[in-house]
Symmetry: C2
Subunit: 288 residues, 2 copies
């Protein structure tokens, strides 16, 4: 190995605006909001960050029943509107860290439902962002994760489409293409956020050239998993880690270019730690 | 050859509601409208029918300048609104034989433009139906015949899509899929008419089984040409004829199943003449 090994971080990687904003709101809340401060569910899909938050005094409440005093932080993924109402009724201070791009999905969903469309939410069933979006729709709305899910749905004449912010363009395009064949009117509001697109494009571009790809971020993070999937389609030696301690020298044997990318819920410090550890393991002369 | 040869006409083939209506309105006009009676451009894209109409006293005017008295029939493809106004200003009786499904495209185009979308008309540039649709849009509207046409267009954030009634679902799906990647909001009103879809599906189904496919209809008919294209992708021995007199015994050598279909502008009598002639040439025992 030695000096021929290069580490390259994808041009767009790691923490996005919405996550940075949520982390900053949580830090402010720890300092000044009525105590105790809890996030309702993990603030972001990154176990390391959740542990770091706990150290600053921001606890994790699974439901409102676990947070019966002080302040509650609504996480970046957003929630159904009734949760915010219920928190206020309990006298909790509500700090809404819902990502502004997720709010855009909520508004698009409400608008399409108000205009009479049957709403299709393209996303992962059960994902908190998707659950939150569904809370802004009506009883006719359905979640579709791929084209095969359309089989089980009785489609109406006019269908509106919104998208979980971290979905891939390819999946959305396939679903819209199929819907266009099946119904009279399809109104798509493409709510995939640009940070997601940029990370996906940069990851694909780097994975096309790299010998090994390392994806840093929560195993429970949908957008990080999709980056890993995009990379593994282009680079056989793709590894998804949560922390630098998981890195193994054997992964990098004979590699000349090691690509690194990270999901939108991965703080820069975690990327830096991974790069430093790869340098230690491979003797890479420099990282860029 | 002999008794093993079968002729099968596609389950949906030939003249559609809009064309039947236009032919019937032209017959009525020949009998009772102020003379002379002209169609503005060919009533439908079928040279034989145009000749038959001339024999009943319905002439062909290329422009309003060729029809300066009596009645003018607006053809099934529709026109831009200013043509109807101009005809009325000249004191002509206007008989509007625009297909109701084409009118639906005009209304969808007007609605999307009024709602602020940049309009994309999926269709053949220069086709009279497409020209008519464009007349119901604004200066930002563009015609797109396939995905490559999108390259030359500066797309806005919000794009509305309507479709020439006789386009294929596949082409529409490809274009919508690509648009979904490129803009924030895509509002598709799928104005492909069900007659077109039925004819295309039935043609494909028959072409998959047939040894030879014969497509009957105007060479200048877009929907007939698309049927020929769909069939030639599934059956190598596909022939597009305007009239039974073009049929050649050599085409049917060793054929066991001969499929016949026809565009929406092909009267039943023309299909019958083709079937009779194929029977004469091949000795087919029966047609169904």
């Amino acid at each position: 190995m030695g000096s021929q090994v290069t580490i390259e971080v994808a041009a767009h990687a790691g923490v996005c605006y919405g996550v940075e904003r949520a982390l900053s709101m949580a830090a402010d809340a720890a300092a000044s909001a009525p105590a105790p401060v809890h996030t309702l569910g993990p603030l972001i899909h990154n176990p390391l960050v959740v542990r770091e938050l706990a150290e600053t005094g921001v606890g994790l409440a699974d439901t409102l029943d676990d947070a019966n005093a002080g302040s509650v932080i609504i996480r970046a993924h957003g929630v159904v509107p009734s949760v915010i109402e219920a928190a206020r009724e309990r006298g909790l201070a509500v700090i809404d860290a819902t990502c502004p791009y997720v709010k855009r999905v909520h508004h698009a969903a409400e608008r399409l439902v108000a205009e009479g469309y049957q709403l299709i939410v393209v996303g992962e069933s059960g994902h908190p962002e998707v659950e939150g979006i569904m809370g802004h729709a009506d009883g006719r709305a359905r979640v579709v994760s791929d084209t095969s899910d359309l089989e089980g749905i009785e489609l109406e004449r006019r269908v509106g489409v919104v998208v979980q912010t971290t979905q891939t363009q390819d999946n959305l395009s396939r679903i819209v293409s199929e819907l266009t064949r099946r119904v009279d009117e399809v109104h798509v509001v493409n709510t995939i956020c640009s940070a997601t697109q940029e990370r996906q494009q940069a990851a694909a571009e780097l994975a096309d050239r790299a010998d090994v790809m390392v994806i840093v971020g929560g195993k429970n993070s949908g957008n990080t998993r999709r980056l890993a999937q995009i990379c593994s389609e282009r680079c056989e030696r793709t590894r998804h880690i949560e922390d630098a301690s998981e890195l193994d020298a054997a992964w990098f044997e004979d590699a000349r270019l090691i690509g690194v990318t990270a999901g939108a819920s991965t703080p820069s410090a975690h990327i830096d730690r991974a790069c430093t550890r790869i340098q230690e393991l491979t003797g890479a002369a420099h990282a860029r």
